[in-house]
């Protein structure tokens, strides 16, 4: 029978679909708030509060030095409005010890927020485990027993460091060292929270793990640090969601996500970020992909004021595969500078990038990408397709593809297209009885379909709903 329903469980998900789901803020009540600004004192305080081993404090202080030396990037969108002296680099929610494993123990205020987002319901229905981060700290973490028994680790990053120091230290900062870029250095100095995921050899987790990040305080920064290790032949799908209420001044999110995909392993990492429109979202996401392993990033950027995010795959093993599917929606006052990096450093590696961006109402979306094929990476293939859809005359889009090929046998394809909301399509759909706004939303959904179809159903429904909210007032 053909697929005649968008989603059979749509009704069940109604709880996740309140009109003003993302328009909330709760009372700020904190056990500790650092001074504003990025200083050595703040870095030392964070490390002391987390009772970290000495090597981590040294790592942080060194990263701070690197950050100070590097200075702000001189390319990309304008982020001069972001004033570090005005940002709280660390906020610890209500005093407590460790992360809760029972949802009922999470403080009421925090729980209320997540309940609104439907996190516990989603966990029961479709997830293998959930982590929830409120401000700088993870407040809740749970993993279903069946996975725990098989040796899967899913913890907040601090607990990972404490309980599995050897695995942690062996992999931490090996994918994204502090020297990598300015924001990676800042994150390395002040990181807090994030997930630590370890999937042992041969274990396949068939339902996603999810982390949800929430910023509730004004002028704060969130610097989660996620480390995912998939051992030989392991499989996992990790989903990250982000949100923040609207405040008058800017907040800052700068996470680092490091993923190590060992031989024959498969990892998917999906993000739909819906930060409020005053969050600077400057994230480094990178995976190292070994022999015959595959890494797939799905990156949806709907919220934030400025996003700079280029999920990367470093294909270091023969036959490794990398994929980035990305969606960006730039509305009024938003800059979505997103893309992908594919580094081919071994023979027979392949990569695919599909990027779809939509801009309206003065919003600007850019595709910025790199494909690098090193000498000796025989018979490597890369295909990049970026399509931009402009919904009105004030919207803007740019493409910055960088292609560096040092290998003669490489096959590289790059296609880019820019289209406008098409009047003929609109009239056609309207002539079938579909009202104009719905017709426009349908065209946009169709445009995004090649990426959206890769999302689990629940998230595809959520994505559609977010797109519809963004589409309000698009036509007519």
């Amino acid at each position: 029978m053909p697929n005649t329903q968008a989603h059979p469980d749509a009704a069940k998900l109604e709880g996740m679909q309140h009109e003003n789901q993302y328009d909330f803020k709760l009372k700020e009540d904190y056990a500790f708030k650092s001074d504003k600004g990025l200083t050595e004192k703040v870095v030392r305080e964070i490390s002391a509060m987390k009772e970290e081993p000495e090597w981590m404090l040294e790592f942080r202080l060194n990263a701070l030095k690197i950050a100070n030396k590097k200075g702000w990037p001189k390319w990309g969108p304008d982020i001069s409005d972001l004033n570090f002296d005005d940002i709280y680099f660390y906020i610890r929610p209500e005093d407590r010890q460790g992360t809760f494993a029972d949802w009922d123990e999470v403080p009421d205020e925090v729980r209320a927020t997540y309940d609104r987002l439907g996190i516990p319901e989603a966990e029961q229905k479709v997830l293998a485990g959930v982590g929830a981060q409120y401000e700088s700290e993870m407040v809740y973490h749970s993993l279903k027993e069946e996975w725990e028994k098989q040796g899967v680790i899913f913890l907040d990053t601090e607990t990972g460091l404490r309980e599995y120091p050897e695995i942690f230290r062996e992999h931490f900062a090996t994918v994204v060292p502090p020297e990598d870029n300015y924001f990676a250095a800042v994150n390395s100095a002040v990181w807090s929270g994030g997930s630590f995921v370890y999937v042992p050899a041969g274990v396949e987790i068939d339902v996603p793990l999810q982390a949800y990040f929430l910023l509730n305080a004004e002028n704060m920064g969130q610097f989660e640090r996620t480390l995912i290790i998939a051992e030989k032949g392991a499989k996992l799908h990790y989903i990250e969601g982000c949100t923040a209420p609207s405040y008058n001044s800017n907040s800052f999110h700068s996470g680092v996500i490091e993923i190590i995909v060992k031989d024959d392993a498969e990892v998917r990492y999906s993000t739909i970020q819906n930060w409020s429109h005053n969050v600077y979202n400057l994230v480094t996401q990178r995976a190292i992909v070994n022999k015959n392993a595959s890494m797939r990033w799905l990156d949806g950027n709907l919220g934030s004021k400025v996003t700079m995010k280029y999920p990367s795959c470093v294909l270091i093993g023969e036959g490794a595969k990398g994929e980035v599917l990305s969606i960006a929606f730039a509305n009024k006052g938003q800059v979505q500078d997103a893309g992908a990096k594919m580094i081919h450093a071994a023979p027979n590696t392949s990569s695919t990038v599909i990027s779809k961006s939509i801009s309206k109402n003065g919003g600007r979306s850019s595709y910025r990408g790199l494909v690098k094929i090193y000498d000796g990476a025989y018979n490597s293939k890369s295909n990049v397709e970026c399509d931009a859809l402009l919904l009105d005359k004030t919207a803007k889009t740019d493409t910055y593809p960088y292609i560096e090929i040092d290998e003669k046998t490489a096959h590289v394809g790059h296609e880019a297209s820019v289209s406008k909301l098409n009047d003929e399509q609109l009239f056609y759909l309207q002539s079938r009885g579909i009202p104009e706004a719905e017709a426009a939303a349908l065209i946009v959904r169709g445009f995004l379909e090649p990426v959206a179809k890769e999302l689990p159903l629940e998230y595809a429904v959520e994505l559609n709903r977010l797109i519809e909210l963004e589409m309000e007032g698009s036509v007519g």
């Binding site: 005649t4 056609y428 002539s431 079938r432 009885g433 009202p435 349908l442 169709g446 379909e449």
Partner: protein, 253 residues
């Protein structure tokens, strides 16, 4: 002004800001009848079809269009469709990423109240009947709207949609153009399946051969933005034999 008919009254229209294309069209299509609209290239047949459907790139300067006695001039294209009008496009557009099934479900639900969306089985059965009528395969429903369709498949899709949406009045704009004999038979069979007391159609065509399969109750001939002659089905054969020059002399235009 009468119920149970689509009525075009002294209709004048032009491309926004351009020259007048429709120069006073008068035409009555009673429900339950099928009329053919013929005429040379550039006489305004397709324009008439699009203006009736509510294409916003045309401007109506005077006259009226009435569905069952109610003027639809103030209605948007989607409202006209929900009032019972349907246009089978000469050049159906492609909408990538939107499956036929999804599109048809949206179009059907647009005609129903919120909370009264069509049941899965009812929808499925409706589609099955239409697909069978057109000698098609249900895999078509999984394909994206006209993406990668051949010319013939696109035309067949227009008739499929018509059968599913069950309009009161349908305008078929050169649905036969570009079809081979077999496809022509299939499409005609689909149109004939829709015929009945609750359905009227205006079939725009250049060729008598279509009218062998869809036998019209009346034939209208359009010339330079007006209906210049209306007659029985034999008029189509006469035109086929003698050409439009005969007619222009006959009616003195």
């Amino acid at each position: 002004m009468q119920k149970n008919q689509l009525e075009i009254v002294n209709l004048h229209a032009r491309v926004e800001g351009g020259e007048e294309i429709l120069k006073g069209v008068n035409l009555i299509l009673p429900k339950s009848e099928v009329h053919a609209l013929m005429g040379p290239n550039g006489s305004g047949k397709s324009t008439l079809a699009k203006v009736i459907a509510g294409d916003p790139s045309y401007e109506i300067t005077s006259g009226n269009i009435l569905v069952d006695g109610e003027s639809i001039l103030e209605l948007e294209a989607d409202e006209r469709a929900r009032a019972g009008l349907y246009l089978a496009f000469q050049y159906p557009v492609e909408v990538p990423g939107v499956s036929m099934a999804n599109f048809l479900r949206l179009a059907l639900n647009a005609r129903r109240d919120e909370g009264d969306e069509i049941e899965v089985m009812e929808f499925y059965n409706k589609l099955q009947d239409a697909i069978k009528n057109l000698n098609w395969d249900e895999s078509i429903l999984e394909r994206n709207l006209h993406e990668g369709f051949s010319g013939g498949e696109k035309k067949r899709s227009e008739i499929l949609q018509m059968l599913v949406l069950e309009p009161k009045y349908s305008i078929l704009d050169e649905t036969d153009s570009g079809l081979d004999v077999d496809a022509l038979k299939i499409v005609s069979h689909g149109v004939n399946a829709a015929r009945g007391p609750e359905f009227g159609a205006l079939v725009i065509t250049h060729y008598q051969r279509l009218l062998n399969h869809i036998v019209p109750d009346k034939v209208h001939v359009m010339y330079d933005g007006q209906i210049v002659k209306t007659g029985p089905k034999e008029l189509a054969m006469e035109l086929d034999k003698k050409g439009y020059d005969w007619l222009t002399q006959e009616v003195g235009v």
